[in-house]
Symmetry: none
Subunit: 418 residues, 2 copies
């Protein structure tokens, strides 16, 4: 079967001068690979008509599917749409449903509709419009001389929604891809090299058509198995066998697959058991509550949190004894236990998470350097499990890694692994 090749073109100077990272192309690269399409090139070009035209021509000379992001905003430095019309030698027409959507968005937000916003409903005549449910600039699908061109706005959330909801199905209809199967296994609480050591025998036995990739993140490592074959059913069974073998080597670290997250996993367990949760955060500053509440339906099990940055808040809102803080400090086993238990009691929940630590860059001491932290979980049986960690010396990473570690500790407890 013939390989389908793709090129991603991003338009806009902000990537070229390094003002933003090109996360859109990375995401699209993942999605296209998932579909069984090979990304041959990623090209970032400036907001310049001649340059965009030559990039389109070069891309169409080497690939079948050209994905374009950016340059669709209402302001005059956004020139993608007119350039595409020139490329296809085609006039611009008004797309009524898009105009209606734009009008609706502005009226919902009680904002007046400007002429530049009305212009967002103009599209090249030869395109199929793909609705943008999150913004005003629509996606566009073009076919010419056997090649497909897709243009989407550069705002990541809008681009992702258009691609997932409107582009993937059209790509599958247009192209015949080889069978490709991806399985992504999610782990938490184990480093990449330790995980690799545990499963090295299995990795050595993988056939050439099944590849294993390690995708490390803060406190989490994803393992992706990718197989290519003609017989999808057979391949699926074969990959599943390897998945079971891999999981059996370190069962307590694997918690889910695909797009799952620790906070969604916890949400399901709490919903199923009708348990409730509260959180007492010191140095994580609301980040764990933010993760929990990003999950739809979290109001069913999440009661609330106290971000106790100041010690008076720990005392007044969580019932921590002043003497405990004076004797042991706010970053201590004694204080973290009182925070967790005080939180659980005062919010009347089944479980409570508590965190206290030194995020840095200042505030570290010889005995409690930057990155030192305590995490505790108060449980329905009246017991509280408290653990001590070192999270490194970068403030941002310390906060984010601690959030993952706290959720993972809760997961292990509710799953009976701790």
């Amino acid at each position: 079967m013939q390989e389908i090749l793709s090129e991603i073109i991003t338009i806009g100077d902000e990537i070229l001068i390094g003002q933003i990272l090109d996360t859109n192309s990375a995401w699209l690269g993942q999605q296209l690979s998932y579909l069984g399409i090979r990304v041959k090139q990623i090209s970032s070009v400036s907001d310049n008509k001649e340059h965009i035209l030559s990039a389109l021509k070069e891309a169409s000379s080497r690939t079948d599917l050209i994905i374009i992001t950016g340059g669709l905003g209402p302001t005059k430095d956004d020139i993608t749409k007119n350039t595409l019309a020139a490329y296809f030698n085609c006039e611009m027409v008004l797309h009524e449903p898009t105009l209606q959507r734009v009008e609706e968005i502005f009226s919902t937000r009680n904002l007046p509709l400007l002429e530049v916003n009305r212009l967002q409903a103009l599209v090249p005549k030869n395109c199929t419009v793909i609705e943008n449910t999150l913004g005003t600039a629509p996606g566009m699908w073009f076919e010419e001389e056997g090649k497909v061109y897709v243009s989407m706005p550069g705002v990541p959330s809008e681009m992702k929604a258009i691609f997932s909801e409107g582009v993937v199905a059209r790509i599958k209809q247009q192209f015949t891809m080889p069978s490709i199967i991806h399985r992504t296994l999610l782990t938490a609480g184990i480093g990449e090299s330790f995980l690799a050591e545990k499963i090295k025998d299995i990795e050595a036995r993988l056939p050439h058509y099944i590849k294993l990739a390690y995708l490390p993140g803060l406190g989490q490592v994803r393992l992706r198995l990718t197989g290519y074959a003609d017989d999808a059913t057979k391949l699926d069974i074969e990959i599943d066998t390897f998945v079971q073998q891999i999981k059996s080597k370190a069962p307590s670290y694997f918690f889910g697959e695909g797009d799952d997250t620790l906070e969604k996993y916890i949400g399901r367990v709490f919903t199923d058991n009708q348990w409730t949760l509260s959180i007492a955060e010191s140095f994580t500053g609301g980040y764990i509550s933010h993760l929990i509440t990003e999950v739809s339906g979290s109001s069913a099990y999440f009661m609330g949190a106290v971000v106790a940055y100041d010690n008076e808040v720990k005392i007044n809102k969580l019932g921590v004894q002043r003497q405990t803080i004076i004797s042991h400090g706010s970053v201590s086993e004694q204080t973290i236990i009182e925070m967790a238990e005080g939180c659980r009691k005062s919010m009347n929940t089944d479980y409570a998470i508590a965190t206290s630590g030194v995020a840095g860059p200042s505030g570290g001491t010889a005995s409690k350097p930057v990155g030192t932290c305590w995490i505790a979980i108060a449980c329905p049986n009246g017991k509280t499990i408290a653990k001590h960690y070192h999270m490194g010396n970068d403030r941002h990473n310390t906060i984010h890694r601690s959030g993952i570690v706290a959720l993972d500790l809760l997961r292990k407890i509710v799953d009976g692994l701790v």
Copy 2:
């Protein structure tokens, strides 16, 4: 003066399949822009000889300086060096000082020197070797037909060291660059199209050598002015004049420049005035506290927050009257005012922020659809300012946009703009 154009070429599949973000190109884009060189294109290509050759040819047809990263490792999928030798039609020769460095590195680490490591000291005969003080693969500088090509390893730390220590000085010697000046102005609380409408007269008057770009984000738009000229001092003054004119058209929306953020701005104002802050969050679920506490030094002014997801928490921890919630609902002007004032009082702070809304996807009603929200700020003068918004129907965006809107309302209040 003629503009110097550059293209960055990255080699390797890990960027194309989205396994890693292309941080090297972003960093190089920043460095080249600072030097006064315009990055015309960034191209990521696969580990394929023919593809690399055509990328080099295309890049040299449109730019003067081609910067190549990646594909210099010892493993067999790294083919950049041989491809460059083929491109320049030139043989490979042993570079003795590099061989000595490689031998030293291996002996220091007590590792045996393999044949693949010895091969790292082979370079195309026409290159000038640029020492890699951090690794085994050297940087290489080529000149041909008035164009310069620089090849560096893809490991970020090695690439950055080679570029800073060995490449920058050579670029300055080889090329005469015009001055380039960037100014990035930060706004909040105004949409891209409304901002463009306000400053369209100024935009129309910009000379051809000063460009204006709109960089939209959730609830925030950055404006970037970029100027190219021979006389840096004159250009600086000219750009500054435009900056002042632009700000004067919508003064209340501009709060900073460059890498500043609303939360850092607020941090400076609160630190300077020795004010304190507390937060009562309902549907934003800890996100505002997270933004505030990501700023180093926030413990000086941020006392804490109550994430009052459940109504009982609003009542018990913030002192909201049960009857207020029964009569008006939790998403109401009356409740938000009691949340803000109760928070300010109970945490004994100068200011308090409160949020309550419907994040969705469920929980909306005809009178309070998904995206409805109230934000209030309780102030030291005893007054509380409450405002009502519609934030759209995407849960993630509603939470993030509301966080920015709340911080912007606080900024306007402390700056005396509301």
